[in-house]
Subunit: 142 residues, 4 copies
């Protein structure tokens, strides 16, 4: 990961793509810190994003982790490229209780043909963060 | 899988839990056929459920597949039990284009301590179904 | 999967590659039926292939499943191509007791850039087969 | 992970179980550092452990990573417990070239019913270590 800083056009590419994902708007999600090979996405646990016990649905947790990992991959790709998820594995470590989720996606292994990524998802409750999910996956440039 | 038919209270347990998942309402999702070890969930690809190219977001695909697999597991569990996803792996096979998704969750291996599940997710476009994702995972009774 | 039958050079490609995998010889593994998108590998559970309770080690189960899935992918690829595992997920369903394992690898979704595969691994004891593992993964032509 | 040091009987439990895994002997594998929630296993890439290009077979890489992760889980479990792999996902990041592999298994999330683990596998060539695989999985006490 020799690249140390993202250009403003590389950051714009991520912001533009994120803004075009209507599911992220539905979830009230926002991009956080964007760095080479590392992207953060946060979202409140909205009344409409829950499972049967009122916690964040695994689908919300997955969506944020998958998108954060995908944009982490995109941050390492050449101009003009886009990214798609090939496969993602999620381990759900604890119920996602709290007011919001923070997903941190990271590039594990950049590559021309495939990018291996991971993501951690934390639930924030009363100011404390708890790790609730771990994702490992593969992204492909398209 | 010796059980051949679900009692109405077993079906109600699934319907009640599904109705309590607010994310499923947000997605406009509906339960389809419910059988022992096999549950179907369908959802339109709503304007608010999309990725940057207008196709279904992987998060929608995952959510439906995960829930269908979870309820397939629940259909095999003793009364009073609930179910949680331990881990799920999704392979995304093709862009999820079309008007709606159909997720079919199945029990691969029932068990007292863990239930191994799979799910197929199809995208329906102009009456044809295309397999767009395959999930394999583990559910735990709680 | 329009191809209905493998040519003898396509079958030879698989046999030659398999024969060059020294781990398969160490395990006493043999190729079984080879068909387009479907390859079988069997191996005895040798005294040197076991875990601490005398059953087949998960590493043996994985190796056979991964190789069967890889050769199933290779059976669908253009001449001259070889195949590598990108990622594989295995669910271990039951202890692998018995005298031998049978792995059946299948192509779920062929593709020019990536091939999605699955494999089932059975343990054979006193003539009965029991499903002991399920694999889902991604192969890449190289 | 409140436990800071392993007792000699806890270390013996791991050594005894490892010694009983005949596959580890077949691979020439050895236990390295053992700490609470962290276990190392190394093995030469023997002539009989290879794939068709002479590199370590994915089955060797998996076996070492899976066992290292399993023993990391065992190191956190109460006396008398044993551990089995429920499911493991491996991403193969690079060809495993070199003279030996080093697998480092770690507990990500301990638990009474399930333990979430990860493992990194490195290939050592001429004194340099390269990350060749990443595993994420679930172990169960038995």
């Amino acid at each position: 990961m020799e690249k140390k800083i993202l250009s403003s056009s590389e950051i714009d590419r991520i912001r533009t793509s994120f803004a075009a994902q209507s599911l992220m708007r539905t979830f009230g999600a926002e991009l956080g810190e964007i760095a080479p090979g590392r992207v953060e996405i946060t979202a409140p646990i909205l009344p409409g994003s829950r499972q049967q016990h009122g916690f964040a649905h695994a689908g919300l947790t997955f969506s944020l982790g998958d998108s954060a990992a995908g944009y982490a991959a995109l941050s390492m790709m050449p101009e003009g490229a886009e990214v798609m998820s090939v496969e993602v594995k999620i381990n759900l470590l604890a119920p996602a209780k709290g007011s919001r989720l923070i997903a941190i996606g990271k590039v594990v292994k950049p590559g021309r043909r495939l990018v291996v990524v991971s993501a951690e998802v934390f639930a924030e409750e009363a100011g404390t963060r708890k790790l609730v999910a771990l994702l490992q996956g593969t992204m492909i440039p398209v």
